[in-house]
Amino acid sequence: MIVIFFILPLALLLASLSVFGFLWATRKGQYDDLDTPPLRLLIDEEYVEKPDKNKNSQIN
């Protein structure tokens, strides 16, 4: 049972990673529109190249 002393903090660490993932996704607006992206998936051709990659300011 002594292993739990090691595993429990590890599990909490992993959980906190996924929580940060969730916070990041929410901040990026990933949950704002749940209808359109599944349709974009159907369009199998090359998508429009984004001219600049440094557009990381908030969408809105």
């Binding site: 599990a11 929580v19 429009v48 600049d52």
Partner: protein, 842 residues
């Protein structure tokens, strides 16, 4: 009417289209042909691969206004206020697109950057019909992008983004709290299972201590991050109990005004303190799992509610964006420029085309036309207007082009002043004390009393167990189910109502709706259709069809009504011989001839006096005079048709009562409501309408101004303090009355002020949705009562058990989710706003 011609599917939309001899693509209409060619010229044929995938909402309408220039989108003032400058020099704007529908639309609109040089990015949110465009103002103008979209039939409308973005940010912040709270409660629950499984401080102090310590850490984060919301609001409610109207606060004592957040915060605080103490000292039970789940569940309910309200706010914004906000200014050099109506200045000259809404108050300089003023004044009949006469913003020009000199624009117009009053005015209405809030206040008192008694009694019997039992009581009596009962039921109902085209902006009005005692309707456009139709035809109906053939050349509302009527009733339509040498006589009538070798007909349509003055129909003039008087008494406008100099037929034109009005009033009467009509239309017409609908004359007023309507409601309330008044309308003239009433409802096609003032608005034509609204409200209230009763029973049992000392952590862990699940299931299974006609929806 439809002829049996062999058909092909239209190459663009797939509707039946006439077959063509060659193999060229067939089209059902010019609009489809234009869009098809626009797509092919742009090399965008792949659109047809994706069209129809994931279709939702209404199918797009035809391309009607593709010729617009959208010059106002390049106005610097517009760009400054409605678009956002990005650090790299591009700008970003949100547009509402009409007619986006499926994956094909997503593909086509997002192709814009590859086609239009200078457009950086285009992203469509299909469900919200919102396109986000970023572009480089140096290389392309927004109006070019808008024209590109309009060519495919996606009419773009700018959205004022500020209000919505605020809501979006708050929603995201709450979603973060919800997610974190659930993650924490999941982890705490896993650790708590070990405790329920037998791990305790006696059997294995090291491991149990670790579990408790970790739970304490997680629960503290959850309390601070997720639960902070409740502590702040509970504190605010303790410090300043909601100040409500004088009468209401006199009736209800200050204590029942404590918000639901107080018992929640109290339960959380006490539970956490006790568990933290138990963890640190190693003595006693911990309740961290219950606390964490409670926080997560309550935040979820709150988030759902916020989402529902955002949905309604977006729908309002969408409708507002469809209203025209541009004006066609005539520059001194005679050139016409399309600008934002808000940028007009007194002294400017504007052109108002037929069918346009007048953008500003002013004086007509040239041109003569007829106006439809119903949305501003309630007047149902079109009124003629000529040079030198006053014209108000918001009325619709029906006839011919007018040139107007602007006297007041924007906020200074009559409509603008009303709008400002509606937007700024605090809600001068009796406050609604939410049932759940009242119960919540009582609940706190009961729980505190029960806790005090339990503590006192147990202190006498077994002092060492007293604190544990009090804490058990406070936690198990947690208002989890009680707190979620109302918001969950309301949120589910509001979401379903929106799918039926009923948008509820503030869900607290549903409670007022269920207690409504009086309902007041506007007449023109609400009870009636708000446009001219043929009510009655006396005489030879073939003559009337000949008249309609002449009216095909006219834009006058009476002419259009006659054409619509002939389209429905004539055996042959369109007519075999088109009318010739048609001449309109302004304010009098129309003349022309139908060339037919067998029966050549000279036709004149117009007022009886005018026809008589031309020497027509002298024989039976006395008879037709009688008919004229009869029509006028019934509230119609009489129109006569003379064929070859003899009057052959008389038509009564009027604003017809909507087909579903009678059924709705019947239903409302059965619900025990008093019905009234308030209208700006002529008192006689209003009285006739009220009489034909069997409406109480004591609650009916005609010829009233917007302020009179508001005063009527205030007087009614003064006489009957317990009256709950609902105002249903569509126009600017109803807006302030809607705000004064307990609930304001705007019907289909309402004016801007009406949409802003209304608590509820309907996007489906007709009055049937209002009946549905009342039915749905009754179901929601029943669901809320069921939820509250269920959670009250749970709490009664829980508190009794805790007071007797039967509650262990295990019991609490089983009981709490059960009560919440009951509330969730009951809310989801409610029968409100179920579609009545399944075939109607797609």
């Amino acid at each position: 009417m439809t002829k049996a011609v062999s058909t092909n599917p239209c190459a663009h939309c797939g509707l039946p289209a006439p077959r063509r001899a060659d193999d060229a693509p067939a089209f059902c209409c010019v609009g489809c042909q234009a869009v098809y060619h626009a797509i092919h010229e742009g090399g965008l044929q792949n659109f047809y691969e994706f069209r129809g995938l994931g279709a939702r909402g209404e199918a797009p309408r035809g391309v009607e206004r593709a010729a617009e220039s959208f010059a106002y989108l390049d106005d610097p003032a517009f760009l400054e206020s409605q678009s956002e400058a990005m650090p790299d020099g591009t700008r970003r704007v949100q547009l509402h697109l009409e007619g986006v529908h499926c994956a094909g639309c997503v593909w086509l609109t997002e192709k814009m950057p590859t086609v239009l040089d200078g457009v950086r990015d285009a992203r469509l949110s299909l469900a919200r019909a919102r396109l986000e465009v970023s572009w480089d103002p140096e290389r392309v103008t927004l109006s070019q992008a808008a024209r590109w979209l309009a060519r495919f039939g996606y009419m773009p409308h700018p959205l004022s983004a500020e209000r919505l973005n605020g809501a979006g940010q708050a929603e995201r912040a709450l979603l973060k709290r919800v997610g974190v709270s659930w993650a924490i409660s999941g982890n705490i629950m896993i650790m708590a299972v070990a405790g329920y499984g037998g791990l305790n401080m006696l059997s294995d102090p090291g491991l149990a201590g670790l579990m408790r310590g970790a739970s304490l850490l997680l629960a503290t984060i959850s309390m601070a991050y997720g639960g902070g919301v409740f502590f702040r609001r509970a504190w605010a409610s303790l410090r300043a109990p909601r100040v409500s109207g004088d009468e209401a606060s006199a009736r209800v004592s200050r204590w029942t005004h404590l918000s639901m957040d107080v018992p929640i915060a109290l339960g959380l605080g006490v539970g956490w303190l006790h568990s933290a103490y138990a963890t640190l000292t190693g003595v006693g039970d911990v309740w961290f799992d219950s606390l964490a789940v409670l926080i997560a569940a309550l935040l979820t309910a709150r988030w759902l509610q916020m989402r529902g309200q955002r949905f309604a706010a977006e729908a309002t914004e969408r409708l507002l964006s469809l209203l025209p906000s541009t004006a066609r200014r005539i520059n001194p050099d005679g050139r016409i420029e399309e600008i934002l109506a808000a940028t007009l200045k007194p002294g400017d000259r504007v052109e108002v085309r037929a069918g346009d809404v007048v953008p500003a108050d002013g004086i007509v300089e040239s041109g003569a036309s007829t106006l439809h003023r119903a949305i501003v004044t309630g007047e149902s009949r079109p009124e003629p207007i000529g040079p030198g006469e006053r014209i108000e913003a918001g009325v619709t020009n029906l006839g011919a082009i007018l040139a107007v000199r602007v006297e007041a624009a924007g906020d200074d117009t009559h409509v603008g002043r009303l709008m400002r009053w509606v937007e700024d005015g605090e809600r001068r209405r009796a406050p609604v004390v939410q049932l759940a809030d009242t119960l919540g206040g009582i609940f706190v008192l009961v729980v505190l009393a029960a806790a005090a008694i339990t503590g006192g009694v147990w202190a006498l019997i077994a002092p060492q167990a007293a604190i544990a039992h009090v804490v058990a009581l406070l936690v198990i009596s947690c208002p989890c189910a009680l707190g979620m009962a109302t918001p969950l039921a309301l949120t589910v109902a509001v979401g379903r109502a929106a799918r039926q085209g009923i948008f509820i902006k503030h869900d607290d009005v549903l409670q007022s709706l269920s207690r409504a005692t009086h309902i007041l309707f506007d007449k023109t456009g609400t009870l009636t259709e708000g446009r001219m139709t043929v009510a009655e035809c006396i005489g030879d109906s073939n003559a009337a069809f000949d008249a309609a053939a002449l009216e095909l050349h006219s834009t006058h509302p009476i002419g259009r009504a006659l054409v619509a009527w002939a389209h429905k009733n004539a055996p042959v339509w369109p007519p075999e011989q088109p009318a010739e040498s048609v001449e309109e006589h302004l304010g009098a009538g129309i003349t022309g001839q139908i060339p037919n070798p067998d029966a050549h007909r000279e036709v004149a349509v117009g007022r009886l006096d005018w026809l008589a003055g031309r020497g027509e129909g002298e024989q039976a003039l006395a008879y037709w005079r009688q008919v004229e008087a009869q029509f006028a008494r019934a509230g119609g406008s009489p129109v006569f048709v003379a064929i070859n100099g003899r009057i052959a037929c008389a038509l009564s034109m009027g604003d017809r009562i909507r087909p579903d009005t009678l059924a709705l009033l019947q239903q409302l009467r059965q619900n025990g409501l008093h019905i009234g009509v308030l209208s700006g239309d002529h008192p006689e017409l209003v009285a006739q309408c009220a009489a034909s609908l069997d409406v109480d004359t004591a609650l009916t007023r005609g010829g009233v101004s917007p302020e009179d309507k508001r005063d009527f409601i205030m007087t009614l309330r003064a006489h009957r303090p317990d009256a709950v008044i609902i105002m249903v309308g569509d126009g600017v003239n109803d807006a302030i009355a809607m705000q004064q009433a307990d609930v304001g409802i705007a019907v289909f096609d309402g004016a801007q002020a009406a949409l802003v003032a209304a608590d509820i608005f309907v996007t489906r034509e007709g009055l049937a949705p209002i009946g549905l609204l009342f039915d749905g409200t009754n179901h929601v209230m029943r669901t809320i009562h069921r939820n509250l009763a269920g959670s009250a029973v749970y709490n009664a049992l829980g508190i009794s058990a805790a007071a007797l000392g039967f509650v262990t952590p295990l019991v609490a862990a089983v009981a709490m989710p059960f009560s919440s699940l009951f509330v969730i299931a009951s809310s989801l299974m409610q029968r409100s706003f179920e579609p009545t006609e399944p075939g109607e929806r797609n």
